[in-house]
Amino acid sequence: MKLPIYMDYHATTPMDPRVLEAMEPYFHDDFGNAASRNHAFGWKAEAAVEKARKQVAALIGASDKEIVFTSGATESDNLAIKGVLEFYREKGDHLVTLQTEHKAVLDTCKRLERQRQERIDELKLMRLMELTGRDVSGEELAALEIKHELEKDEVLKRWIGAVRTGARVTYLKPKKDGLVDLAELEAAITDKTVLVSIMLANNEVGVVQPVAEIGALCRKKGVLFHTDAVQGLGKVPFDVESSKVDLVSITAHKMYGPKGVGALYVRRKPRVRLAPIIDGGGHERGMRSGTLNVAGIVGFGKAAELAKAELEAEAKRLLALRERLWKGLSAKLDMLHLNGSMEHRLPGNLNVSFAYVEGEALMMAIKDVAVSSGSACTSASLEPSYVLRALGIDEDLAHSSIRFGLGRFTTEEEVDFVIDLMVKAVTRLREMSPLYEMAREGIDLKSIHWAAH
């Protein structure tokens, strides 16, 4: 067995050797630009891209004409949200998403909210200039807003009603098991809602959302549905027809393909339109300009083909390994907390809090194993994972969480090794944890007045 052991497949995956083999010629012999229409080099590259497009489409049950290649899922998320919002501006400016979405979705939404607020602030300044008959600076805004009672100003209200910049966003809190509450989702959709963005599977807790129900609801309400499917593709069954999804973000590097290439599925029937966020040569039917990453796309196609072919067997194998890991850990350690639903979960994901032990210290103690933690002790904010907190998990348990991500190359031997190592590390760190000692003495840690620092 080779060390260190990789158990962080949600972060990225190694390339499958078959993918690398498929890509190889496109770095040298077949290096053409897929947009070169007038010579054999271009034709060959174009043919390779179109083959890959079919392979990626097949993975999600789509038509190849619905696939737009991008640089990865972050770009796809940005394109889906910003592109839809810009195109459907006349219909509305409201988005609904989940607090546990990936930052590529959340930070995109936050920027759009900020843009709307900035536009409103501009209008307030203009209105105050009108009311005072002089120039007004940004610093004066807050004071003058109160003085001139802008809150009740009917003119300003009309102006704000005409704002077409940015967006308003509802961030739904998931249930304790990480799943979206469908009744809350339905209630959040208004006549101004243009898009619902909810991921297929979560990158931290592996919770798989009921996309078919969400899709049906969105269709009924006449709003578009985007899903970031990055973590779920090739691991759980998914297709665009049964889930009635309109936009899907995909990336190659989470399914044994290369980094730096992804796609956005854009439904054609009924047709979904997008404004591009990158302008240029009009590649990808005008939705994403930029010379295509031919070798990367070929690898992406091959990875998608393998993911589809091996999904069933791989899901079964990973589930067995995950169960082995969970059983092994819980047989030898007490006070473990599973984060997120066990039932609606990616087969290769296990997210556990080892109470009274801090996650980063645990990772340091098992340095031969690559995992990740929600402790985020290294972040300047010292805030633990926002995903775990959205699930209502106490901050101390969030600091104690470890995410295991199992994948295509994980072996039973590795799982057993990790169980042993974890048991040793947790036992040692608990022996030196004042909280563990206090808990064992029966002291209720919540009753202590801790000085936050």
Partner: protein, 139 residues
């Protein structure tokens, strides 16, 4: 982020992990930090009647740097007078372990733990002997 050799050394071979009898009149206990913040340090000092730190034990819930900072201060305070021990600053701890900026709070916690343990010892003593006697005995 890579850890420095000194942090790894103190983390893997932590010195003076353990518990002293908190009811012993010569033991001062400092419990600082908060579980919600991801670090709690408990430092216990056994202090002689003339104010010398005879023994030190710690238990820490926290990252590697927090554990290393605790381990380091137990070594540093042993044999010191309480007057000298309270002079240990977080800067010295951070420098010794080459802590990066995001880990400076670990060294702050260790400094606070020393001060809290000594304060606890002095309060216990004051209760036992009366404030005047306590002040005159621990110079």
């Amino acid at each position: 982020m890579a850890y420095t050799d000194k942090v790894i050394e103190h983390f893997e071979h932590s010195r003076n992990v353990g518990t002293l009898d908190k009811d012993d009149p010569n033991v001062g206990t400092g419990l600082v930090g908060a579980p919600a913040c991801g670090d709690v340090m408990r430092l216990q000092l056994k202090i002689t009647d003339d104010g010398t730190i005879q023994d030190a034990k710690f238990k820490t819930f926290g990252c590697g740097s927090a554990i290393a900072s605790s381990s380091l201060v137990t070594e540093w305070v042993k044999g010191k007078s309480i007057e000298d021990a309270v002079k240990i600053t977080n800067k010295e701890i951070a420098k010794e372990l080459s802590l990066p900026p995001v880990k400076i709070h670990c060294s702050v916690l260790a400094e606070d733990a020393i001060k809290a343990a000594i304060k606890d010892f002095q309060e216990k003593r004051a209760k036992r002997l009366g404030p005047a006697a306590a002040a005159s005995e621990t110079r």
